[in-house]
């Protein structure tokens, strides 16, 4: 046979017609969703990607999302009596739609994470690797092209007291003394409930430099954070580099937390309280920095005492699941 019969040709077309998917309907029956489960969708009303998050609880209270009044659910607006233009905190049990606006590019049109120079002329750029799952779906590595990929991170934060340090100096009868002060305060605008925020890239807080802490130049961030989920958007084929995510992009979510949480700090000092450790140096006069250097470099005992004093008085929080 060197020709294709019309009937054969049409049989193929018929088969492809029958098998093409015209529509897909999902009949939900209130299936179980885990706390913090993220459901991204395109909001035609707001013309942006939003995420609805199944209520997750921290210490028995559902976390909140800060929104403009126009974006907030009616239940939130009624509860707070909010007016347009204000920022309101909507509880997850009120069903807010969290805007997803801070995207980073991965793969085809990504910017390098870091650039280094090797030798005299070679510039080495390093890129965030494309997850294997998306490589299989056609997202390409940076040099190879392919479908565009965007990602944003959803982070849970719980405010708490901050710990700060400073030194005061004075002259006593038998020499100079240095007083190491540890102060606790509640940062302005602190929120009682845990809250969610989005960021294009999640970076876990770096532990503070022990020397900075001892030198009295330190104050911690005043919150604990937990990385909840990453939302990815995969572009259709042939989307030009740098495109903004639209309704025809496909969302995928990588969850990292599946259960409700408890958050507690190691200990709870009263707000505004200052605790101090006085160290007698026996050195007469002296400039502050010189004294600190003397304390830290030459006097191991006193340095260790200050470190231990601080370690026992630093407010740190932890999350755990229930």
């Amino acid at each position: 046979m060197k020709t294709i019969l019309a009937a054969t040709w049409n049989a193929l077309i018929d088969r492809l017609r029958r098998e093409q998917v015209l529509g897909c309907t999902v009949l939900g029956h209130g299936g179980w969703k885990h706390p913090w489960q993220v459901t991204p969708s395109w909001s035609f009303e707001r013309e942006e990607w939003v995420a609805q998050i199944h209520p997750g609880f921290v210490n028995g209270l559902d976390a909140e999302v800060r929104l403009r009044t126009e974006e907030a659910p009616l239940e939130t607006v009624v509860r707070l009596g909010a007016r347009n233009g204000e920022r309101v905190d909507s509880w997850l049990s009120e069903g807010p739609q969290m805007p997803l606006r801070q995207w980073r590019s991965i793969g085809a049109d990504a910017a390098p994470e870091s650039v280094s120079v090797s030798g005299f002329e070679t510039i080495v750029e390093s890129f965030e690797p494309v997850p294997e799952f998306f490589l299989a779906l056609g997202a390409g590595a940076t040099e190879e092209g392919g479908r565009l990929l965007r990602a944003t991170e959803i982070v849970l934060q719980q405010d708490r007291l901050t710990t700060g340090t400073d030194w005061t100096f004075g002259a006593g009868l038998d020499g100079t003394f240095a007083q190491f002060n540890v102060t606790y305060r509640l940062p302005p605008g602190s929120r009682e409930r845990a809250y969610l925020r989005t960021t294009s890239r999640y970076e876990p807080p770096t532990p503070p430099d022990p020397m900075d802490r001892l030198l009295g130049r330190w104050g911690d961030e005043g919150f604990d954070a937990l990385h909840l989920a990453t939302v990815f958007l995969l572009a259709p084929e042939d989307m030009p580099a740098g495109s903004e995510p639209g309704p025809d992009w496909t969302p995928h979510v990588k969850h990292r937390v599946f259960w409700n949480l408890v958050h507690a700090v190691r200990f709870e000092p009263p707000v505004g309280r200052t605790e101090n450790l006085t160290l007698f140096t026996g050195l007469a006069g002296g400039v502050a920095d010189g004294l600190i250097n003397q304390l830290l470099a030459d006097n191991n005992d006193r340095s260790a005492a200050a470190s231990e004093f601080l370690a026992n008085r630093t407010v740190e929080g932890r999350f755990w699941s229930i």
């Binding site: 046979m1 060197k2 098998e19 998917v21 015209l22 755990w320 229930i322």
Partner: protein, 207 residues
């Protein structure tokens, strides 16, 4: 599996081998209905209907509402079975005989924010700082409008949050908070007398 590049033809190339490859490739477009999925085929295409019947998960402390009552699934705190108004959560009496499981009456009103909680309360022995399994009131389930307990001797842990309608009489829904059996630890306040339970914290975690 056929590589998509193999489907292309060049001018002048015999069409039959390419046609066979195309036929082979088109077979993959056959739709198969998985579990809970129905296919409605028409000459012009197929509609996919996914009927997702979720299996219920009867996890510990699962709260079910029925008007102004709630039933609470079996769960333990530090291996102790909680009680509702003196009755064990599993319905067993003190002689090990099976009886009816108790229900929690949701009396009272919500707080100003139209919320209330079903909680498990733990009362510790002041001397040991631990739950006394002999004490029938040591682990109880209650309905409360605030999460803060009345005294430091009592630890309060939320099982579910209830959302009320603005009329303050109808409960709209329950939001489950706890999904597992619990462990409990009382941590005395730093520097305080270990037997002084006026200062300290109750920590709960899943097991």
């Amino acid at each position: 599996m056929i590589h998509l590049r193999d489907l292309y033809v060049r001018p002048g190339e015999p069409v039959m081998p390419a046609w066979k490859r195309l036929l082979e490739w088109s077979k993959q477009f056959r739709l198969f209905a998985g579990r809970g999925v129905r296919l409605q085929r028409t000459p012009n295409g197929t509609y996919v209907i996914a009927d997702l019947k979720a299996n219920p998960w009867n996890h510990p402390f699962k709260v079910r509402l029925a008007d102004r009552e709630a039933s609470i699934g079996f769960g333990t705190v530090q291996d102790v079975v909680p009680r509702i108004e003196g009755k064990r959560l599993d319905g067993m009496d003190d002689k090990g005989r099976e009886g009816e499981t108790p229900t929690l009456r949701l009396t009272g009103e919500p707080n100003e924010e139209l919320r209330s909680w079903i909680v498990v309360e733990v009362q510790i022995d002041p001397k040991s700082g631990e739950i006394d399994p002999e004490n029938e009131e040591a682990v109880t389930i209650r309905h409360v409008r605030e999460l803060r307990p009345s005294s430091a001797e009592i630890g309060r842990h939320p099982l579910a949050m209830l959302v009320w309608a603005p009329n303050r009489t109808t409960i709209v829904r329950a939001r489950q908070i706890t999904h597992f059996h619990l462990r409990h630890l009382f941590v005395a306040q730093q520097g305080s007398d270990p037997q002084d339970t006026r200062g300290g914290r109750h920590l709960f975690w899943a097991t």
